[in-house]
């Protein structure tokens, strides 16, 4: 079982996202993350999918996606140099002044940005890889108790 990344160009139509996510649930494929957004061409959307599978299942996933009339192209990122990032906001509550100082140091170290600031709380904007975000959540939870997390799912593009 390996973590894999693929990207799709799909028709920007009602129901296409349901078709793709339904394919994963219907065929018991292990979907880890899925992001979708418009492209420069308003009739086409771009989807980034992270999944965990063995080699044979991964081949099936790609074939089944290609088979969908609404899917224009399937790009397999395996063994390709890619840029990949995930946007995450993390809200740390009940902060003391000392906590906040510590958070600014953490932000500097991890190259994430404090983007909002209240009397007792602070929000970090993190554009990191999925693994780095995982690590940061673990760290902040251990230091400050349960933090509020929202993650956007990864987007990836082939390097130049």
């Amino acid at each position: 079982m390996t973590k894999r990344w693929i990207s799709l160009y799909v028709e920007n139509q009602i129901g296409v996202l349901a078709k793709i996510s339904g394919l994963f649930s219907g065929k018991s494929y292990n979907l880890e993350s899925l992001t979708v957004g418009p492209t420069g061409n308003e009739t086409i959307s771009r989807v980034t999918i992270g999944l965990i599978s063995d080699d044979a299942t991964f081949e099936q996933v790609k074939k089944q996606l290609s088979r969908c009339v609404e899917v224009i192209t399937v790009i397999d990122f395996t063994n390709k140099p890619i840029l990949i990032k995930e946007l995450m906001f993390i809200k740390i509550k009940n902060c003391t002044a000392e906590h906040k100082n510590q958070l600014f140091q953490i932000a500097q170290t991890y190259q994430v940005s404090p983007v909002d600031y209240g009397k007792n709380s602070l929000i970090l904007e993190c554009v990191l890889t999925e693994a780095q975000n995982d690590h940061l959540i673990k760290l902040l939870n251990s230091l400050f108790g349960e933090c509020e997390v929202v993650r956007g799912g990864s987007v990836a593009i082939e390097s130049i």
């Binding site: 799909v10 028709e11 139509q13 009602i14 129901g15 349901a18 078709k19 339904g22 394919l23 219907g26 044979a56 081949e59 099936q60 074939k63 089944q64 290609s66 088979r67 969908c68 009339v69 609404e70 899917v71 224009i72």
Partner: protein
């Protein structure tokens, strides 16, 4: 010129060469039916239930090679299509299903008879879309027919909101469809075919495994030439049976759960398996890690996703069956393997001995069909009778079998036979059904009678849901849960299994047939089979129901238990 949506709909069907439309009216397709009423090019058939309707369109499509077309209303009309859509999807049958829908401004309001049929059918059809703009109507219908019939064929669902159908708009209907995300494979990779030729030369025990894809591609004649040229023996799936004449000496039989012993042995002993147009369904392979373990496997299929899905293959070839077979015909020559053929013939002798020993009533009925009918389409339902038919029917260019192979849909037989009869008025259509499956769409007897279709409907009545009963007998210690169709409330306590003490069967199929205006004949003894068929053949103005009373404990043998190796066949019980 500006025309109504319904008028463009009818124009589109005319352009697509649709001569028969299976339709059922309701609030949201009556505008279309009103326009159809005012023309004569398309015959509109009215079945008695939407499930029967779509199976009829399916039978029409399978038996004519054309695309079957359905028109139903929204809500329950649309949801009643679901089983038929899944049936067509699993067996790669081209259908275009038009469903009425509430007006676009009402969608999402839980309006009367509103359902999200595109959402409901998304995982079981090849493509589905709602028409949301009148200017898209022509393009969407054009694409629907193109998608349904090309590549690996399948059902397409087009949802037609009422306002789209009454709105005025352009009368243009596109000549061609071009879809950027859908480019079915054309041609075949010659490098891969060269590998096949080399492997075929080197093989000592080559074998063809033929599936329904060969029928879909109309590649039967090409396959027969290839088999005769290479002298490689052939086994088929149920869906593939008849692709080559069953009388051809190189034809062995069906493989799989209810295949014959010789076919299963051939697969497990061959050293090269050339499979064409099959997806290696679990009913075919049995236990996967024991399937064809001595063989290199070549897989030719139009659908890339069918290749290496269940069985890891050595040489994948994405191609239409006919294209690939025709190319192989040019590249191969004779590679006769007498020893291998004799090895298979030895196994076949065992099958023939077992068959001769049993020769049960069901088998005798099928044999009689083989003898009496020269130009025939046999349509089965699902269950024991289907397996007897699939095993014992002789098929050829003029003798075809239609059956729900992939989904195994009870209730398919009678309506599909109606579709086949409408599409093939010059052929004798025989429906073989069980007493269970017959009652799942029995209302279609009214359709068959209304259209004066001389279908011969054979009901194999063993008073049980026989296939499940067989499993209960063999694997569930004779606990006949929910399979007895004679059981009444009053006999619950003292039931000892089937016997003389059982209540009368209900309904009386003969009286029922007669009440619909069909003919009815009941047969108890093998000696009466011939006369019943001869009588039925002369009934030209209405269908004839022949009810064959079958012993309740009749078994379909040989069989492989689910999940077991094909080697472990139960031959005798």
């Amino acid at each position: 010129m500006q025309i109504k949506g319904t008028e463009l709909f009818v124009k589109a069907l005319n352009h697509e060469g649709v001569d028969t439309l299976f339709a059922y009216p309701g609030s949201y397709d009556m505008d279309i039916l009103d326009t159809l009423y005012q023309q004569n090019d398309i015959e509109v058939i009215l079945p008695r239930h939407e499930q029967g309707l779509i199976h009829a369109a399916d039978g029409y499509a399978r038996s004519t090679g054309k695309t079957g077309v359905c028109l139903v209303t929204s809500g329950p009309g649309a949801t009643n299509l679901v089983t038929g859509i899944a049936t067509a999807n699993y067996d790669s049958v081209p259908l275009v299903c038009f469903t009425g829908q509430v007006s676009t401004n009402l969608i999402g309001n839980d309006a009367f008879q509103e359902v999200d049929i595109i959402g409901i059918t998304r995982p079981i059809c090849k493509y589905g879309i709602t028409v949301r703009h009148r200017e898209d109507l022509g393009r969407i219908i054009k694409e629907a027919f193109y998608i349904a019939a090309s590549g690996r064929p399948g059902p397409v669902v087009i949802d037609l909101p009422k306002d789209m159908m009454i709105a005025m708009g352009d009368d243009a209907y596109p000549e061609t469809a071009s879809i950027r995300g859908y480019k079915p494979n054309a041609g075949v990779h010659n490098g891969q075919l060269n590998k096949v030729v080399k492997m075929l030369k080197a093989a000592k025990k080559p074998l063809f495994l033929i599936g329904g894809g060969v029928h879909t591609a109309a590649a039967g004649t090409s396959l027969t030439k290839l088999v005769n040229q290479t002298k490689v023996p052939v086994v088929t799936t149920i869906m593939g049976k008849g692709a080559i004449d069953t009388a051809n000496p190189l034809y062995i039989g069906n493989l799989g759960m209810h295949g014959i012993y010789a076919a299963n042995m051939a697969v497990n002993h061959c050293d090269l398996l050339i499979s064409i147009g099959t997806r290696f369904n679990d009913r075919i392979t049995g236990r996967l890690d024991t399937f064809a373990t001595h063989a290199k496997i070549i897989h030719i299929d139009i659908d890339p996703a069918s290749i290496s899905k269940n069985i890891k293959v050595d040489v994948p070839i994405v191609s239409d069956a006919k294209t690939a077979i025709d190319a192989l015909l040019e590249m191969t020559d004779c590679c006769e393997q007498q020893e291998w053929i004799h090895e298979i013939y030895d196994h076949l002798a065992a099958d023939h001995n077992a068959a001769a020993k049993e020769s049960s009533l069901p088998q005798k009925i099928i044999q009689q069909i083989n003898t009496l009918f020269k130009d025939v389409i046999v349509v089965t339902d699902v269950g024991q009778h289907q397996m007897w038919a699939a095993a014992h029917l002789h098929l050829s260019n003029r003798k075809k079998l239609l059956t729900s192979g992939g989904l195994g849909t009870m209730g398919y037989g009678l309506p599909a036979a109606i579709g086949a009869s409408l599409g093939n008025p010059d052929k004798q259509i025989i429906c073989i059904s069980g007493d269970g499956g017959m009652q799942m769409n029995i209302q279609e007897l009214a359709t068959a009678t209304a259209y004066e279709l001389p279908i011969i409907i054979c009901i194999f009545n063993n008073s049980y849901l026989g296939m499940v009963r067989q499993w209960q007998q063999l694997f569930y210690d004779k606990r006949y849960a929910c399979t007895c169709l004679r059981k009444k409330k009053s006999c619950q306590e003292q039931c000892q299994g089937p016997g003389l003490q059982c209540p009368e069967y209900s309904p009386d199929f003969i009286k029922l047939a007669e009440s619909y205006g069909a003919y009815g004949i009941r047969v108890h003894h093998p000696n009466d089979i011939n006369a019943a068929f001869l009588k039925a053949m002369n009934n030209k103005d209405a269908p004839t129901v022949i009810e064959f009373i079958i012993d309740s404990e009749e078994l379909v043998l040989p069989m492989v238990r689910g999940g077991q190796s094909l080697e472990n066949m139960i031959l005798d019980y």
